[in-house]
Subunit: 404 residues, 2 copies
């Protein structure tokens, strides 16, 4: 991947200290070690799922589903995958029934994913699906060792896989949480991890991304009061769910009270898809309050070389400039036009990321790039990147409502 910053940012003592902290937390925060994990157990497990299984259905919410969905939806339209992947991630009854109509329940394997094993949504849905499919062989449970869920799974003799130590939900896509559903669909999880490892190496071993990620995170942190909205403007429909994954990662990691001041801070993530959102959100970026930074993601080569035909339409001659152009080139020209337009505005900080093409390795790189960036910004704006205390209050209220 390439990343070009259009703004200036000079490394200083603060960024050096942040780097030192990251190097230290690398020994305790689990996600840093995921790129080098041994995938033998996962691949062996996958062989136990019969070839008659056509669909995999994840029952999980938030960190248990967004990562796998991002990778799956990135690769699905471009690659022929072995199985379809579905996500039961809402208590919306219409959605549950709609999804159940889409799958053949006897040809589906369910992955029930919950770290604690007591996520309300996951178990409401699991109990309902259990009514339609009672065979324990059709379920695998992914949870923390010794959780209540593990004990339950043991009691019904179902398969169990463990989450690695100290990996939070939103940083878990490169653990069993994401790798198992993806591998079951035939996605090359080793390539995914290789992509992540490349970024990790580049950052920690003084490669191309070392200075770059430090500069970018320093800029975001230093200016977080001014540019407190970060837009990710991805020029491919395939990145729609990557944007949703990014929104969770960024919002839940960086929207916090500061460690030392208890002051409310936060960087608000917004996912956009080009060219569609040129006809929607772009106006607000161009002419609205100057509180937004924008990162563009482009795919250099879509490989699928479809071309706008050399057709001239009566009365629409001015559209002949499109003729014989590859769509791949058109969409990137559109992105570059927006970049140029924003550049002229001066006070809208932008940068652009380019990945060579759509494959597992490149999405692995993007994921690890964003995880590192999040850790760095979190450190620099003085928050605990890895907790989410703000979601507890509503959970407690719900529990009370349910008990009464």
């Amino acid at each position: 991947m390439k990343n070009k910053l259009y703004f200036n940012s000079t490394l200083n003592e603060k960024s050096q200290r942040a780097y030192a902290s990251i190097c230290k937390e690398k020994n305790t925060i689990g996600y840093y070690t995921l790129p080098e994990q041994d995938t033998t157990q996962i691949l062996e497990y996958c062989k136990t799922i019969p070839s008659t299984i056509e669909s995999i259905a994840v029952i999980g919410i938030g960190g248990s589903s967004l990562g796998a969905k991002a990778v799956y939806e990135f690769l699905r339209p471009a690659e022929k995958l072995q199985r379809k992947l579905f996500f039961f991630e809402s208590t919306d009854p219409i959605n549950i029934k709609d999804l159940l109509q889409e799958i053949d329940i006897d040809k589906t394997h369910f992955l029930v994913i919950s770290k604690s094993g007591t996520t309300v949504e996951t178990f409401a849905i699991y109990k309902y699906i259990l009514l339609q499919q009672s065979n324990p062989e059709c379920y695998t449970f992914i949870t923390d060792p010794n959780s209540a869920l593990e004990k339950y799974a043991k009691s019904i003799h179902a398969s169990i896989l463990h989450l690695p130590n100290n990996v939070g939900g939103r940083f878990s896509v490169l653990s069993v949480v994401g790798l198992v559903p993806l591998a079951l669909c035939g996605i090359d999880i080793q390539a995914l991890l290789k992509g992540a490892a490349t970024v990790k190496k580049s950052f920690f071993e003084d490669g191309y991304l070392h200075n770059l990620l430090l500069q970018k995170s320093l800029f975001y942190a230093t200016n977080h009061a001014k540019y407190h909205i970060n837009c990710l403007f991805a020029y491919s429909e395939s990145l729609k769910y990557f944007c949703e994954w990014y929104v969770q990662l960024w919002g839940e990691s960086l929207g916090k009270r500061q460690r030392h001041s208890a002051f409310h801070v936060g960087l608000t993530p917004i996912g956009l898809i080009g060219p569609k959102d040129q006809h929607s959100f772009l106006q607000l970026i161009m002419e609205g309050t100057r509180d937004k930074s924008v990162t563009f993601i482009q795919i250099e080569d879509f490989e699928d070389k479809i071309e706008i035909p050399n057709t001239s339409l009566a009365h629409l001659k001015e559209l002949d400039t499109l003729n014989a152009l590859h769509f791949s080139d058109l969409i990137n020209m559109q992105c570059n036009s927006v970049i140029e337009a924003l550049e002229e505005e001066k006070n809208i900080p932008i940068d652009s990321i380019t990945i060579p093409k759509i494959n597992a390795q490149n999405i692995g790189s993007l994921i690890f790039y964003y995880e590192l960036l999040t850790s760095l910004v979190g450190e620099l704006i003085d928050v605990n990147t890895y907790n989410q205390p703000g979601v507890e209050a509503a959970k407690i209220i719900l529990k009370k409502k349910l008990s009464s």
Copy 2:
């Protein structure tokens, strides 16, 4: 629909003046009159599409697709619709090929929608699809009278429908732009308009929504520098694309230079879906910078009465509180728990909208409610709600790139 404000807002001279302006612009801005339109011509046109047609495909982007998509995706999972609706709205080559694989081109009718008739994305896609389907009878063109596109459509003897006068793209869902694709899928467009008319009447004829919309818009406008992010937190997967429609409507209408000061202002829209985004964005709302207002949308009765079974799982007894609960009640309890949690925070302005159930009339009401709210806020923050000058710069740069 019901709407409860949890914040205080007292009407004043400013809101009276804004209301007077809205009453005045009602005579020139086209969308206000759409609820009372005569749909005879649209329904007659629909009869001309053969019953062998199984899919409708919209070729259009932004205002030409988002509204119909919002309504279609709201109703599709709950109702049995006559035809499927697809949207070609990206120049992403993988997306175009993926969509073409999903439709049977000989059983598809294409609606090419472009106000000016020169939208780059629309014509790049149209030219490509023309290569696969050259029969002009398979196309209908929706455009401004006397546009270049109308002349072209006449030259190939294809069907043409006209956009009404002075209705901008993002306010066009209740015109032919949205009504034609929706009616072709068997959606009750008269109920849709009736829902809009009810809201219109309530607002302009001193009903329940009159004071309420004025209070809400006044609060948003008065506090726009502080609460400059507006979250729409909808508790149903069915409202996912309604949120996307809202993002365009709000962002493109309200992100502007002020009319009298040329100062950059803007209210940033964010669409959220519950309960999913309780596991993502909620942390940022609760503990991040206090710059967000939140509107909750709930569906009172999902009608599909599916229930969590009365199953007790070994080692997971604490989840028995879910037993025998309707999913419909659970999702609303989740929403109410978040509302209560936010209420306790004091300085997060919230309000909640409840619609009785999923049907065409209720989504029509929601649409018109948001259109009116947008017009009011635009007037109060002193912007031209109906233009989008900020998107021109990128278009001009693209045009240059294409010509060279």
